[in-house]
């Protein structure tokens, strides 16, 4: 085929293809996300369903790697002037995103401009609180949320003679000692996400502040305060138990979750999102229980805070594109869709209606493990200390807190020294961030 003939043929083909689509142009909405495996399929399915439900907009999801990768890709794209419309950002990136006025379009503003029906009260406050201003304006749209729970290997607990699932920290320590005596020599209990467990969730669950200004939600001039006597006492307990591995540290992220699935650790705290993996790998009877607390702390347990990610709308796009994004968010908030998402993925439902529906359907009687995080989140009305947290540079700050915890657990520092140093180093970072965040 000669080149001329080929191009003529191509032109015909293109014309035909165009003729097949509706006469008006479809507006594309780019959605960058970090979901892998089964959750990636869910993202694609959501986009497909939305695209099939109407003909004006087309949501195009693209996988951009891990959470930090996706965030960095979005930031780099913004600097180069071609940011996506929607970007999935994990919870610890919240402060960085919201400080970037001009780079983002707040969700409440988006919904108002687009004239979409939007009632922030329809969403679970424990979830939206994390992503809202202190005035209650929702800045980003919660997508996948989870919380921390304590996973229990019921078979091993029974073997070790622990009759009841421990509720408090002293009970957990006792159970761990029994487990250790019953053959779990390398791990009485453990946890993934070291700082999320022992600093962030621990503080919220005991209604003590991580930092001032409602853990940073009310302003970037927040100062860290998690070196209180309670925090020191808790870390000291872990240090003591680490010595003979009644407690055994499992690293900063969640690579060691397999310690639960393999049966090594019979008590293991990690995200409620571990459910799907636990279901497929654990060859024993397991369940999830609320995080433990110290009974001598007044008001404990309070409520837990969320983890996971939310969808941020980037700034500088056309109004008609924003309209499409708003319609997509309305689509996502639909009760049936939310209930189905929750039941399939194990992530939390974001609307009250979806939670009610799942409960009314009797889903939790069959799957009680999926209700544990919801019970924790809604245990009490959130306070200043348990609404969430918002610290700049949180991604790196977690590493710094973990460094200090590791130093303490390895016996290089006392609990007090480690926490004082974590607070001091964190505060230095917060001040640097405050200077750049306007």
């Amino acid at each position: 085929m000669s080149l001329r003939k080929f191009s003529a043929a191509a032109a015909v083909a293109v014309t035909l293809a165009l003729g097949a689509t509706p006469a008006h142009a479809v507006i594309e909405i780019q959605w960058w996300h970090a979901m892998t495996g089964g959750n990636n399929d869910i993202v694609n399915k959501l986009a497909e369903d939305f695209n099939a439900s109407q003909s004006d907009y087309k949501v195009v999801p693209s996988f951009k790697g891990s959470y930090p990768d996706t965030m960095n890709a979005g930031i780099a794209a913004f600097r180069a002037g071609n940011a996506p419309h929607i970007m999935q950002v994990f919870e610890v990136g919240t402060a960085t995103m919201m400080s970037a006025t001009g780079a983002i379009k707040p969700v409440y503003q988006l919904m108002k401009d687009a004239g979409e029906p939007f009632d922030p009260k329809a969403y679970l406050p424990a979830i939206t609180g994390y992503y809202s201003t202190s005035k209650g304006d929702m800045l980003s749209f919660p997508f996948n949320s989870s919380s921390m729970v304590m996973w229990i290997n019921k078979d091993e607990l029974k073997k070790a003679g622990v009759a009841e699932i421990p509720k408090t920290w002293p009970e957990v320590f006792d159970a761990a000692k029994k487990l250790k005596a019953a053959g779990h020599a390398t791990c009485g209990f453990s946890n993934a996400w070291a700082t999320w467990a022992h600093i962030e969730q621990f503080s919220a669950w005991h209604n003590v502040p991580i930092g001032t200004k409602a853990n940073g939600l009310d302003g970037f001039d927040t100062v860290l305060t998690f070196n209180s006597p309670l925090h020191v006492k808790h870390l000291q307990n872990l240090i003591d138990l680490q010595k003979d591995k009644t407690y055994d540290y499992s690293g900063r992220a969640n690579a060691s979750e397999s310690r639960f699935g393999s049966g090594e650790c019979a008590i293991f705290m990690t995200s409620s999102g571990y459910y799907a993996t636990a279901k497929s790998t654990a060859k024993f009877d397991f369940t999830s229980a609320p995080m433990p607390y110290y009974p001598d702390v007044a008001g404990a347990p309070q409520n837990s805070i969320i983890g996971g990610a939310s969808l941020w709308v980037m700034g500088g796009k056309k109004p008609e594109e924003y309209k499409g994004v708003a319609k997509f968010f309305t689509f996502l908030s639909d009760t049936n869709r939310q209930a189905k998402l929750h039941q399939e993925s194990g992530y939390l439902p974001i609307t009250k209606a979806a939670y009610e529906k799942t409960r009314a359907d009797g889903f939790y009687e069959k799957n009680p493990t999926l209700q544990t995080p919801l019970k924790e989140l809604t245990n009490k009305e959130p306070t200043e200390n348990s609404r969430g947290l918002r610290f700049g540079n949180m991604v790196q700050m977690r590493d710094i807190w973990a460094e200090e915890m590791e130093a303490a657990l390895a016996g290089q520092k006392t609990a007090k020294e480690a926490l004082d140093s974590a607070v001091a180093r964190g505060n230095t970072m917060l001040r640097t961030f405050e200077k750049t965040a306007k």
Partner: protein, 293 residues
């Protein structure tokens, strides 16, 4: 007169240099100058605000005890990696240089690991020596050795050193082997006839004649440990536990990419750049004197 007719004008030599100069400028001087510029600025991650703050980034950097710790870690790490990867590679190369039956296959296997990306090498070692998942860590623990790179800084450092050395041996091996093969056999044979044993022949004949290769590899390896190892560290330990494996280049990465503090990150790269330039200068000034070309 006739000769100058061929090279009329002064333009041609410069023209011939242009490609090389362009590459050097675009890929070396321009990014380096950007780093220097950035190190005097304070910028948010999105680049929405930018403020000239002079030397504040440097002052903050040198006020951090962690930075000195990272320097010390870098010193230990780079000495270990350079020394081990050079000496092990030299050992392997001298063995491969002998008349072996399977020498080509042996050489091929030795070179292979170099094709592995640092981060992949890191993940590999992470899985082999992870205290609970690791296929090699389990026997260690089973033998009663409390192997725990998650909390024990020395264990973690050993782990990243092993991974970095393993990765670099192939490269060094290749150059050492080529160096060994270029040494005239007659010189060695003459030594043998004079009654020198294998060890003596190695230290008095082979090693000195190999010194240009060794020197070249020393320079390359120092640059390697200083710049290219952060992928391994990121994958194996993430700089932990308690900063025990945070080297200077890892800190550049962590502060810039994870922390979004581009100013401090840039200041650190400038410091790192200065150190490597100084080290290379020292190597050329003092070590090279001992090299026999």
């Amino acid at each position: 007169m006739e000769k100058s007719a061929f090279f009329n004008g002064k333009l041609l030599p410069y023209l011939l240099l242009v490609p090389q100069l362009t590459i050097t400028f675009v890929f070396f001087y321009w990014p380096a100058s950007q780093a220097v510029r950035q190190s005097f600025l304070r910028e948010d991650a999105f680049g929405l605000s930018s403020e000239f703050i002079g030397l504040e980034n440097y002052q903050a950097l040198f006020a951090q005890p962690e930075y000195y710790k990272a320097m010390l870690t870098t010193l230990v790490f780079s000495t270990l990696v350079a020394a081990l990867s050079l000496s092990i590679a030299l050992l392997f190369a001298t063995q491969a240089d002998k008349n072996l039956k399977a020498a080509p296959a042996y050489k091929l296997f030795m070179i292979w690991p170099y094709a592995v990306a640092p981060a992949v090498a890191g993940v590999l070692w992470f899985f082999m020596f992870h205290p609970t998942l690791g296929t090699l860590a389990r026997p260690l623990r089973w033998m009663g050795f409390d192997w725990n790179p998650l909390l024990n800084g020395n264990h973690a450092l050993i782990l990243v050193v092993m991974a970095a050395v393993w990765k670099q041996i192939s490269y060094n091996f290749l150059f050492f082997l080529a160096g060994l093969q270029s040494i005239p056999k007659s010189v060695i044979e003459a030594g043998a006839i004079d009654g020198a044993g294998p060890m003596r022949r190695f230290w008095t004949i082979v090693f000195p004649l190999l010194s240009p290769t060794t020197f070249f590899l020393l320079v390359v390896n120092v640059v390697y440990v200083f710049f290219d190892t952060f992928g391994i560290i990121d994958a194996v330990t993430g700089g932990g536990p308690a900063g025990a494996t945070t080297t200077m280049v890892y800190k550049v990465y962590a502060d810039g990419r994870l922390g979004g503090d581009l100013g401090s990150s840039a200041a650190q790269s400038v410091v790192l750049m200065a150190i490597v330039i100084a080290l290379t200068a020292i190597q050329f000034r003092y070590v090279e004197r001992k090299v026999q070309y």
